[in-house]
Structure formats: C-alpha cells, structure tokens
Symmetry: C2
Subunit: 236 residues, 2 copies
C-alpha cells in the first residue's frame, strides 16, 4: 500500500484488522460451542446441549458476514501479496470454523439421545479423552491464527494423525461393545457419531493450521504429509 495516500492506507489496515478480529470472535464462538458440547456430553447435561443447538445459528451468521466483509474489501481495496493471502486464508478458515460449529451441534444432539438411554457413562471415557485432545488442537489452531505463527500451526497440524489413531481405537472399542451388547447398538451408534465428529473437528483444526502456514510462508501445504509440511516450513 506504499503508493496510496496515508489515510487510505490506514483505513485499509483498519478494515483488515476488523476482519481479523471478527474471525477471532467467530473462532472463540466455535471453540466455546465445541467446549460446551463436550462438557454437556461428559456431564450428560441436556440443558447445556440444548443451549449449544440454539447457539449454532450464531456461528453460521458469522460465516456469512465475514464472507461479505472479505468480498467488500476485495472489491474496494484490491489487496495484493500478503494482504490477499490473508483474505484467502480468512475465506477458507471461516468455512472450517462453521463446520466445527456444525459438529458441535451434532455432538449436542447425540448427547441428548445418549442422556435418554441407559448406557453406562464409563463406556465414554475414551471419547472424553479424545474430546480433550481435540479441544486443545482447536485452541492451539486458533492461537496460531491469532498470532499468525506458522511454527505453532505446524506443531498443531502435526497432532492430527494422533487424533486419527484415537478415533480408530475408539471405533474398535465401540464395535466390541456392540457385539457384546447388541440390544444397545443404537446408543453405541450415537457414541460412534460423537467420535466421528471429534475426528472431523481435528481435521478442521489442521486445515486452519494449513491456512496459517499458507499466509505466513506463502506455501500451499494441503494434501501433503506432516513430514513434507515440516520440510516446507522449516526448510524456509
């Protein structure tokens, strides 16, 4: 923005800063929704689960309004280089945040189903452990976005394969329970959907990390292994 008058450049910076803080607010909301859904699941708290379902629209409307801000900024300010990469990273990130909100909503719905049934809570200990792991991944991905820290993004993305392993182990466990207790298969299926939602949320957290790396390093690190990603970022 070196060739434009100072006051226009400052306005532009303000607009970018508004988008940035709106994404962080949306991230905070999605994280809260996910965290509340997990809390509701752990405590079989139906009213908290209902609150998550009610708040889902808020995450959706953030996505719509931030997309609009991005289109307006692209049309008016014609950003280039890093600013353009930032806008691209935002457009992608909010899609993943919206999906995290969707998955939180699904967990809340399954929690209500599970609370009505007679499945022992001890069967969900593995899910709670994975839930905490994935919640930390989401928090770290959002921190990486807030600070545009590609190293933290790399470390956080690197945890995603572990969430896949946790998911596979949980699934094996749940299938064993089903075989032992076929009458409760539909309750166990609800638990399967929760596990699946957690696995998807970990994917979304990884995606957000990839957009941070794209913005900071100017490199598209999607569709490659964690090892290749490390080479791309650390290799400079």
């Amino acid at each position: 923005m070196s060739n434009v008058p100072h006051h226009i450049s400052r306005q532009f910076d303000n607009e970018l800063e508004t988008i940035r803080s709106d994404v962080l607010a949306m991230g905070g909301l999605a994280e809260q929704q996910f965290s509340d859904a997990l809390e509701a699941l752990i405590r079989f708290d139906v009213s908290l689960a209902e609150q998550v379902i009610e708040n889902e629209v808020k995450v959706n409307s953030c996505e719509v309004s931030i997309d609009e801000e991005c289109v307006t900024l692209l049309a008016r300010r014609q950003p280039a280089a890093g600013d353009l990469r930032f806008v691209m990273a935002v457009i992608k990130t909010i899609t993943d945040l919206e999906r995290i909100g969707d998955e939180a909503d699904k967990i809340a719905r399954m929690t209500i189903n599970l609370a009505e049934k007679s499945v022992p809570r001890s069967n969900y200990i593995g899910i709670n452990t994975m839930g905490v792991f994935v919640r930390d991944m989401v928090r770290d991905a959002l921190n990486a976005f807030a600070r545009m820290d590609s190293q933290e993004a790399l470390v956080t993305a690197g945890k995603e394969p572990e969430s896949d392993e946790q998911y596979a182990a949980l699934l094996r466990q749940l299938i064993t329970y089903m075989m032992e207790d076929p009458r409760n298969i539909s309750s166990f299926m609800d638990a399967v959907w929760v596990a699946r939602a957690l696995e998807r949320i970990a994917d979304h957290a990884r995606n957000i990390c990839e957009y941070v790396i794209y913005f900071v390093e100017g490199k598209d690190v999607r569709h490659i292994s964690i090892e290749q990603m490390e080479d791309e970022v650390r290799g400079g």
Copy 2:
C-alpha cells in the same frame, strides 16, 4: 471492464474462461471418481476401487492449482461485482469438489473392506438406490454450475432433504441388521460409512448449488431452508 483497453479486457475474459473450464474439468473428475466408486461398490470390483484411490490425488491437485489461478486473477485483474462473485463461488466450489473426491476415496476403501467379507450383497440395495440419487444430484449441481443456472441449482438443492431421509432410513435398516447378526457388525459399519459418505456428498452438491445462486442472484442462501431459498430466488 468498460474503462480498460479492449485487449486487456479480452485477456481478462480468457482468464475467467480458463478458470471456469478448469472448475468444470475438476467437477467432471470428482463426478467420475464418485461414479466409479459407486460402480465398484455395486459390483464389489476391487480393482476399480483401487483405481479410485489412486486417482484421488488428481482431484486434490486441481483444487490447489485453481486456487492459485484465483489468487493470481484477484491480484492482477482486481475483478469487481459479478466477476468477483464468480471468483468467490469458484473458491468455495472447489473445496466442495475436493471433499466429494475425498468421500469417493472413502467409499472405494470401504468397498475393498466389504469385498473381503461375507456380507450378502442384497443388504446394500438401499445404498445403491441412494447412491444413484446422490450421483444425479452431483451431476445436476455441476450442470447448474456449467450453465450458471440458478433455477436448476434451486431444484437440485431442493433434493438434499430427501437424501437425508434416505440416509436415516438406511441407517435404521443397517442397525436392524446389526442387531440380528452381531457377528457381522464391522461389515455393517463399513456400509454405514458408505451411507454417511453419500449423505455428505449430497451436502456438497447442495453447497455448490448455493454458490451458483450466490453468483447468479447475488444472494447468500446458505444456512436457510429450501423454502426460504425458493422465496429468495423466485421472489427475485
């Protein structure tokens, strides 16, 4: 583009046309992958399933290269109004096409699992029916994109709730099978994942239709019901 010299305007049009045809090629590829995965599932054809898995990277690399084209176009040409909406619609659409490719890959993997097991094919008739329904939705969504036809997009998006009903019915059926035949639960779970993949693909087809409507009508119709969407489009 009325204030720029004719030859620049034509170059710009060519670049937009290239992006458009690249998205259509990517759409054709994702559709083919999905269609092959279904065919492999119906015929328990392991070698076709392996081919789908092998080709998955092609869909991914389309996403990366079209994203790059969009960034370059945004930086160089600074599109406004309809052209900018088109680029936004493309950026969103290719994410959904990539996910359709992912789901086709999952169906292919489940097909290989299922082919190794002794589950009667008659158990999958419901899945095949839903598969054909969703395949038609994907084809129609891509046709709507190719012609930027918001009416066709509306009709196709309107079929998504029916895919949800088919999915729910399939799931109930598969859970019944599991309860009757608990030893084969893990095979039935593979069928559950196929059903789930189909449900997700229908969502992606609906998303693509929503971007077509966004481009043509200039209205963001995400996160609203099909009825509200009809009002938005037909109400003008």
